[in-house]
């Protein structure tokens, strides 16, 4: 089986809100796939459709070769899920929850369970109501990572973890990939995505805006150039693919599309280069470009997506 998850044209509406609007997502078997997008862009909704909890209104969804709505139970035995906000039963201990979820999935590896508890420094004897946010996430992570499953679906799993635990988490995700598991990782933490993900999909307002390896994505974007030249500046502004040209005496700064990089550098060397700094696009820039557009134009359509933490318990 080549692809673990194959989603195309997925649509999901809640009343008048169109939470997913023709979303595409392909996750290959054995890869760690980053799933990114601003708050309310539909990541959790997509994951719930993949889990057969929400029923798709339109589009094709295949998960591990099956239909997530029809074959939910059979598929669930082959995957483990960690929600973005793990809530625990107040009167069950963490260890009990880990074992219960493991058993409901069809058993977990006791040796790995012990290893995970040790490396996450989690006391499994505490009752659910006494765990902090980070420790609740750890309970969910231990339960999922100790299970013998093909696919891990992690929805912002490290929210509330400290940097040390973030390292531990990354170690275990790498180990899961070495064991041949597939991981779908929804995340906001760029360092985490950069460190772990083979490929990423970025969504906005329920639609896929970009998908590919981080290298691919960088390739689509501009490199920043900061140079000092000897000859008077001439002929750069006319080149295709050069943007935001700023000239201060001998100093010249501009952004250039990857496709036009070669031509722009040739022109610079003709002018005589005294110094040159070229900065490849950072992941932050990739994100911010998508996120900023999202918050300005799609704020209205991205509200109303079901999230557990909005439940009012008063």
């Amino acid at each position: 089986m080549e692809t673990a998850i194959d989603v195309s044209g997925l649509v999901k509406t809640f009343g008048r809100t169109r939470a997913l609007d023709g979303l595409d997502l392909t996750v290959r078997t054995g890869e760690v796939h980053g799933f990114l997008g601003p708050n309310g862009s539909g990541k959790s909704t997509t994951i719930r459709v993949l889990l057969g909890l929400l029923r798709a209104d339109a589009g094709a969804v295949r998960l591990l070769g099956g239909d997530p709505w029809r074959d939910a139970v059979a598929l669930h035995r082959r995957l483990a899920y960690v929600p973005g906000d793990v809530t625990l039963w107040p009167n069950l201990s963490g260890g009990e929850v880990i074992d219960l979820l493991g058993r409901l999935r069809g058993g977990l590896d006791p040796k790995r369970r012990a290893e995970l508890l040790e490396s996450f420094e989690l006391d499994p004897r505490k009752k659910g109501r006494t765990y902090s946010k980070g420790n609740r996430q750890k309970v969910g992570l231990v339960a999922a990572l100790a299970s013998d499953v093909e696919l891990l679906i992690l929805d912002e799993p490290t929210s509330g973890l400290d940097p040390l635990m973030e390292e531990v988490f990354q170690h275990w995700v790498r180990r899961a990939r070495q064991d041949g598991r597939t991981v779908l990782l929804s995340s906001h933490i760029l360092a985490e995505v950069e460190a772990l993900c083979d490929r990423v999909t970025i969504i906005r307002a329920g639609r896929t805006v970009e998908s590919g390896t981080l290298g691919d994505l960088r390739h689509l974007h501009r490199t920043a150039i900061d140079a000092e030249v000897t000859a008077p500046l001439d002929g750069l502004a006319d080149l295709p693919g050069v943007h935001d040209l700023r000239v201060e005496g001998q100093r010249v700064r501009f952004d250039v599309d990857t496709a036009s990089l070669d031509a722009a550098l040739r022109r610079l060397t003709e002018l005589g280069v005294r110094s040159l700094v070229s900065t490849p696009p950072t992941l932050e820039e990739l994100f911010l470009r998508h996120y900023e557009t999202a918050s300005s134009s799609d704020a209205a359509s991205s509200s109303g997506v079901a999230r557990p933490e909005t439940a009012d318990r008063s």
Partner: protein
């Protein structure tokens, strides 16, 4: 910083959060006594008619069991008795309001948000009590003014208004104490409701038996003993005042000694691994429901012991009233009277058991809203299995508690009449006969949960309608078709000689249909619906 710093801000915050709920219950509860008075003026204008009502209805043991005693045939006296059940609701509303603003807030972590700002250690409890006391005072003022406006004497109206205020105040303070004892709002509500149930049980036992000393121990019994409109005994009002001071004196030291978020007892560590029982959806459901089923059984057991013990006396209590003796003779003598009394009390137990069934069914809604259902349903657990694991408790729970109530009633009643084996069997049958009607309401809760999860708690409204129809329908002389809406109207009187089981089969089939439809709709809907 004084211990009360910030109380004023908290009071304002609570009033704002409760700006709908609080005025609503205050207003509804204030209007009802007035309408009772108006209808007595209209229906029984002469003293002779009221005397007949007093002997025929107001002193009927089952009415006394529900509402409390009637001391005379003045319109005011009869109105005060009719409003007796409202005191229970005032107590309940006050209790829950205080817990809502103390322990629920703490459990949700919202109090921590405020605790970081300038707040004295007593501010939370004090503010919640002040808000609730104020609501009770407003309720009392409106009640008294409403009663005076119908033409009733001022003295009695003020006495009844004070009874309303102080009943609310006692139970608000009890809620304040309960909120300090446990870590969870559910636990605090449990303690508070147990206290309320005990007070009701004592009042019921005292009012229906020959000797009324148990009623003097119950905050719900003091109201009637002030005797509004029937020669007010103002000194009785000192009892709720003393009880309030006592409860507050217990609650405040506890509130100071414990940490924010903690109860009195420190939380114990749990097991590091799950036991063998916690291995499937049913094992999980058992863990979530076992405390409830235990406490409900204990409550029903105690109630059964009290009611069964009081039944024989209730059968004899009508001696001396020629009209009642005539009715009793038609029912088959004193034992027939006791049976009628036990039938009524066990049907009340049936209503309570329906409440338990609804509560157990709505646990699913709580699990879904809290985000507990989602991870479980993302495992190899079928939706139908998960639903059935909870529905099992919604259906079997009422069977267990009603069997307990029937057996304990049969035990103490059998002891008082000297034929335990026979009464055990009869009372068990009479208790279990209530099960199908309770199932209908539990089934309705399951249906609502599957079909309209956001409105699932409407099942409580339906139960409230059933309580009103069953308990007040006959008094208000409502049409039969309206009474037939309640499944409890169809439950046969098992303690009478001739009864047919057909309605039980029909009710069971209806309950199964409702629950099955709930299951089918649940399998097809989105999760979670928030």
């Amino acid at each position: 910083m004084s211990a009360l710093t910030g109380t004023r801000h908290l009071v304002r915050l609570m009033l704002r959060r409760d700006r709908l709920l609080l005025p609503l219950w205050v207003l509804v509860l204030a209007v009802l006594p007035m309408t009772y008075a108006a209808s007595f003026f209209e229906l029984f204008p002469t003293a002779a008619e009221r005397a007949a009502y007093l002997e025929g209805t107001a002193r009927n043991p089952s009415i006394v069991a529900l509402l409390g005693p009637a001391y005379g045939d003045s319109v005011g006296g009869l109105t005060a008795q009719r409003s007796g059940f409202l005191l229970l609701i005032v107590a309940l509303a006050s209790l829950l309001t205080v817990i809502r603003h103390t322990r629920t807030e703490e459990e949700a972590g919202r109090r921590e948000l405020l605790g970081g700002s300038v707040l004295g250690r007593h501010a939370g409890l004090t503010a919640a009590l002040l808000v609730t006391y104020a609501a009770d005072v407003v309720l009392g003022l409106l009640t008294a003014a409403g009663l005076v406006s119908t033409g009733l004497p001022v003295g009695g109206s003020v006495a009844y208004g004070l009874v309303t205020v102080l009943t609310g105040v006692v139970f608000a303070t009890l809620g304040g104490l309960a909120a300090q004892l446990t870590e969870t709002a559910g636990g605090a509500r449990g303690i508070g409701l147990a206290g309320l149930g005990a007070a009701f049980g004592l009042r019921l036992a005292g009012d229906t038996a020959g000797n009324d000393w148990p009623s003097w121990l119950s905050p719900l019994g003091w109201g009637a003993r002030v005797r509004p409109y029937e020669g007010e005994r103002w000194w009785v009002l000192l009892l709720p005042l003393a009880a309030t001071v006592l409860l507050a004196a217990l609650a405040y030291p506890v509130s100071v000694r414990r940490d924010l978020g903690a109860g009195v007892l420190p939380p114990r560590l749990g097991p590091a691994t799950a036991g063998g029982a916690l291995s499937g959806p049913f094992g999980l459901a058992w863990r979530l429901h076992r405390g409830q089923i235990l406490w409900w059984s204990v409550g029903f057991g105690l109630l059964g012991l009290i009611l069964g013990g009081a039944a024989e006396a209730a059968g004899r209590s009508v001696e001396g009233s020629p009209r009642m003796e005539e009715i009793v003779a038609r029912l088959g003598g004193a034992s027939g009277m006791a049976d009628a009394y036990l039938g009524v009390t066990l049907s009340l137990a049936g209503l309570a058991a329906a409440g338990y069934g609804i509560q157990a069914a709505l646990r699913m809604r709580a699990e879904e809203s809290a985000g507990h259902a989602e991870p479980v349903l993302a495992t190899g657990t079928r939706r139908s299995t998960w639903l059935l694991s909870h529905v099992a408790f919604a259906l079997l729970g009422p069977v267990v508690v009603l069997a307990v109530a029937g057996l304990t009633t049969g035990l103490t009643y059998g002891l008082s009449t000297g034929d335990v084996p026979r009464q055990l069997g009869r009372m068990l049958a009479a208790g279990l006969a209530q099960v199908p009607a309770a199932w209908v309401l539990a089934g309705l809760a399951v249906l609502l949960y599957g079909l309209l999860p956001r409105l699932a708690s409407a099942a409580w409204v339906v139960l409230a309608v059933c309580v009103l129809l069953g308990q007040l329908g006959a008094v208000l002389e409502l049409d039969q078709w309206l009474l037939d809406v309640s499944p409890f109207t169809h439950t046969p009187q098992v303690l009478r000689d001739a009864w047919t089981p057909t309605p039980l089969y029909v009710l069971t089939a209806l309950a199964v249909t409702l629950a099955t439809t709930g299951l089918l709709t649940f399998r097809r809907r989105d999760i979670p619906v928030l």
